[in-house]
Symmetry: C2
Subunit: 404 residues, 2 copies
């Protein structure tokens, strides 16, 4: 092969295929606590919507479609966000092929090689390689039960300014049921974050896939709802409320940013067929009833896993999440989360080591790593209640053996 032509970003990439990981690839006896897969039984019945899309909206569904996305779906999303405190219109919305595609487009817009951005420590691990693929420096600030440490962020900005270094292009954060810790950012922190970033001219990328997957407590306004200066670029998705396989998410931002992102969107537009299915599902009575069902089902899953972990893994500290898909387990100091995850995989329980969620030393700033090495993240979304019990029991046996 042309090795000379590969002396570029390709040179740093593995040439091996990833290990099996997705539900369709797993043996039946593997328990998947690793990723935020949908619970199969809560996936909605969409056949009538698909038939309608392929008959009443046949040409729209099968033809090339505008890259900004369906005007009707964009209008619905704007209304959905405005009912949640935002002030946006269809012009603020860009439909993407899932939330990750939206984040990718934001990176294309804002990141040049050598730019920096900020994430929490820990953060959503899938985003770290996306950010790095743009040649960006990933800086970490601390995160606690109240969310991103805005005081640390302000101190970081001050250090950078004192050193004559450019500020980060954006702060990436999951404010509701934070991935991986499950914590929800307080209103005071949210207001402080938006105010700080607006003042300093740094965008905020609010990744909010779990917004409606809330079981307990009152909703706190989204960062986008608090945004007065177009500082916040909001990323939403239908993956958690309808079905991840349909691959439809969105970006909500100032129309000038949306227009620019469209010029960097070279994929020919998100699938108009699945957009039509989602739009018709959303405007039907089925949507709100389905959201209620989703909340009830995942609440039951969370409760079951909390009970099992408290019973079988009592040394793990857990902050009970008010929503989302994940539990973050902190084991006593000295425990090796990486070894635990490796051993669990060998015993056919897939979990993620806490260390996966840290961007690592970035630009010479303190890592704020805290309890990473002795932590793991478990997802309760995919497995049945019975298998949640079984998986946690298996983990407890591994834990006992490792602690012995």
């Amino acid at each position: 092969m042309n090795q000379g032509a590969l002396a570029c970003r390709a040179a740093g990439l593995s040439t091996a295929f990833p290990a099996p990981h997705f539900p369709s690839e797993l043996d039946a006896d593997v328990i998947a606590f690793d990723s935020g897969f949908a619970y199969p039984k809560v996936l909605p019945e969409l056949s009538q919507f698909a038939i309608n899309a392929l008959s009443a909206h046949r040409e729209e569904s099968l033809q090339y479609a505008p890259p900004q996305g369906s005007p009707e779906l964009r209008d619905w999303i704007a209304g959905y966000m405005n009912a949640d405190g935002c002030q946006v219109s269809a012009d603020h919305i860009l439909i993407a092929g899932g939330a990750k595609h939206g984040i990718d487009l934001i990176c294309r817009l804002l990141l040049d090689e050598g730019d920096s951005l900020v994430v929490t420590a820990p953060t959503y691990f899938t985003c770290i390689p996306i950010f790095r693929s743009f040649g960006a420096h990933v800086l970490e600030v601390g995160h606690d039960a109240e969310g991103l440490r805005v005081d640390e962020l302000a101190a970081l900005f001050n250090r950078l300014k004192a050193a004559g270094t450019a500020l980060p292009k954006f702060v990436y954060n999951v404010v509701d049921f934070h991935n991986p810790t499950g914590a929800t950012m307080t209103l005071a922190r949210r207001e402080a974050l938006v105010e700080l970033c607006a003042r300093e001219g740094v965008f905020i990328v609010e990744d909010n896939p779990y917004r409606r997957v809330r079981f307990t407590g009152e909703a706190v306004p989204t960062l986008k709802a608090l945004d007065r200066d177009d500082t916040v670029i909001h990323v939403g998705t239908f993956s958690k409320l309808i079905a991840p396989g349909l691959r439809i998410g969105w970006v909500a931002a100032h129309p000038e940013l949306i227009a620019r992102m469209m010029q960097l969107k070279s994929d020919g537009g998100a699938c108009p067929f699945t957009q039509r299915i989602i739009y018709d599902f959303c405007r039907s009575g089925a949507f709100e009833a389905h959201v209620t069902k989703v909340q009830a089902v995942y609440r039951e899953h969370r409760d079951r896993m909390l009970t099992a972990v408290r019973r079988w893994l009592p040394t793990a500290a857990i902050d009970e999440p008010d929503g989302g898909y994940y539990l973050w387990l902190d084991f006593p100091p000295g425990f090796d989360g990486d070894a635990f995850a490796a051993e669990a995989a060998a015993r056919k329980v897939n979990i993620l080591a806490g260390s996966r969620f840290f961007a690592g030393p970035g630009g010479g700033y303190p890592r704020n790593r805290g309890p990473a090495a002795n932590s793991v993240r478990l997802s309760y979304s995919y497995e049945t209640l019975q298998r949640i019990d079984e998986g946690v029991e298996r983990l407890a046996r591994i834990y006992a053996k490792m602690a012995a």
Copy 2:
């Protein structure tokens, strides 16, 4: 807004939304000869396949799916390519959200800022901004009725080597029913191109969306079929044979390149639902019968437009294409294709000026532009036979007025 944070690639992008262009956005009296939209009446009946995907394959269709794509569909594609002279397996195939998404992934893999690549003059205009968005220099070589001028490419390589400049990362080409000229590259040129690029360590990106949309003449082996050294990265799509709205295409390349591209693919995988529909359609008897129908329908469209252009626009020189969706019209020297396209749009016939298909002065090399300014491209794919007549007549009236 945070103007400081926009002092990056965003600074060079327009903040205006594009003009209406897609079928769903157009007034009924606008005749769309501009883009390669599917003829609505040739879109297949897919309802039964959608219902099957949402019942027998419900979880697979709606769940997160492996980023390389469905193993069954990859296997089918490998067989489909091998029946056309290639030697690939499912490991060589990466499913993408359409061919443009595949090209985007190839750029991510191979292009660093400042790298160069080669296109024909003219070339598929949509790719030019994709290539430029990676900060790459787009170099042009000439193109004639036999396809890419391999002699010019060799001379370009020699000039670059003599100047101590890095060779291009890849040569991008549409060898079958070239977009926009309609020309099909001869076997001798194909062999020479693959041999030259293999020797010089330059990849070839073979974009071949129209491969099976052939009306006349014998198929010439694809570049991938002639490839002995993994020099060719082939891009295919179901958009032209089934439906563009399903947004499924593929990249075929050495597995080490595929594995690397997967790490740069941050979109969470192409839609498993539309992949399942396509796979079941392809392995049914419906697929080959449908391809035959597609060929017959677009042949009728081509013939109708050829007749109309010869009758109503007799000063336009045309090379009759053996397949694909487009006619390239060269008007006499001095004619202004840009003004013609603008005037046609004002009279509700959308066409593309020939100048759109040239990457412009690139890196100081001769433009080889030839007849760009006095050319236009017409697509015969989307409109009915009657509207093909009507559109060409409208164009003839505009032409007569401009020539007067």
